[in-house]
């Protein structure tokens, strides 16, 4: 697998204007800011889910040179609140990931569970696994531990950071908790008004 960096050039969406950002392979850039400051919208813009200005490249490949669904398969956004449309968990996965389930403290049978019985914490972990089962080349994480208790939060943080470093994915991680930002490491930007500032 070739490692590629994620590059935002002059991205403008909502209140954010002209955002430039480079994320190296295996690097995690944390993003924080008050609610409503546009963190989620920035991630949505990178995933090309809403109209905006600016360019995004993965490696040397411009987003516009491929179809939008190909782009999203490579640069995958995991939203804060996941949605499930089929009856069982397994139907949402690109491929089975049995060993990852146990690492996230979920039993192997979880793939056969009906979606209706999932707790919010289980949904959040399964949504991460679901996204990674599609083998993206870059990750956009929107508060990936919002519904988890402390212990599970630590476990999930370790697991995602390991995955990101092992597979060399550039990642943007939206987080609230200062402790988490410190543990995850890497650069940290916060949104001030219309731009990103190193924090």
């Amino acid at each position: 697998m070739q490692l590629a960096r994620l590059e935002l050039q002059g991205l403008s969406v909502g209140g954010l204007v002209n955002v430039d950002l480079e994320v190296a392979p295996g690097e995690i850039v944390c993003l924080s800011g008050p609610s409503g400051s546009g963190k989620s919208r920035l991630l949505r813009a990178v995933a090309d889910l809403e109209p905006h200005d600016g360019r995004v490249l993965l490696g040397s490949v411009d987003r516009e040179s491929m179809t939008a669904h190909q782009w999203r398969r490579q640069v995958m956004l995991v939203p804060a609140e996941s949605q499930w449309w089929a009856d069982t968990v397994g139907e949402h996965f690109c491929r089975p990931v049995p060993e990852a389930l146990t690492e996230l403290d979920l039993p192997a049978e979880a793939v056969g569970w009906t979606v209706a019985r999932l707790s919010s914490g289980e949904k959040q972990r399964l949504a991460l696994l679901r996204a990674l089962s599609c083998r993206p080349l870059a990750l956009l994480l929107d508060e990936p531990t919002a519904n988890l208790d402390n212990e599970t939060t630590r476990r999930v943080e370790r697991w995602i950071t390991d995955w990101i470093r092992q597979h060399g994915l550039p990642a943007i991680w939206v987080a609230h908790d200062a402790g988490q930002i410190e543990r995850v490491g890497g650069r940290h930007y916060s949104i001030r008004g219309s731009c990103l500032e190193p924090a």
Binding site: L49, E50, P51, P79, S82, W85, R130
Partner: protein
Amino acid sequence: MDIIELSWWQLAVAGALVLLLAVCTHLARLDIGRPLLIAAARTMVQLALIGLVLEALFTVGSLPWIALMALVMLLVAGREVMARQKYRLTGGWAFGIGTVSMFVSAFSVTVLTLAAIIGPEPWYTPQYAIPLLGMLLGNTMTGVALSLDRLTESAWRQRAVIENRLMLGQDWKQAIGDLRREAMRSGMMPMINAMAAAGIVSLPGMMTGQILAGTPPALAVKYQILIMFTITVGTGFGTVLAVSAGSRRLFDGRERLRIDRLKAH
């Protein structure tokens, strides 16, 4: 057999019953009295007018006038399709998609049925063309309206699901596939049910009318089967077109769900 004459006072008796129903629902606070009375008044005025128009049209019988009549019917149906949607595509698309779908499907099936199957001389003889087009357009309108309403409303409610599917790399057709199937189903179900129940549970209106007017039942049945099939084909293709165009319009060139193209009414 001569058909029994109906006088206006006899209709007034039936009208009084509708009025009674409106009063009862009003007293029971079921809030349907007003729309019921408006619709009843509309049906009376519209049918009385169309009676006059048809008499004039049948005397003239020329193609331009028949085409004008057909155009008016189409535009009214297009407006009706739009009015029945709670969430409408903006920028004239709600009207445009409904009207074009009905035009392409109902008009071509009508012309085909007239020219290739029934074959009156000339093919546009208004006694055949206008009732046939009316039945096709009416049913196609129902199918298109139901399916578009279902499509836009479920897209509105399930926009988070659609977007999450897009995030996982599905293309727009996969992401909205379930909704398209449901919309298609709700557009076609009335016709499928009508065909399944025809003759057992319900006696279709046109057949009943022909029998009342003295046509032998065997011939009336043949006409009814023909009409059921053509209506189904018209409704089906109209609904396919509307669902395809409507769902395409919910996404832009970069396969983003553009829920901002819907407006609640």
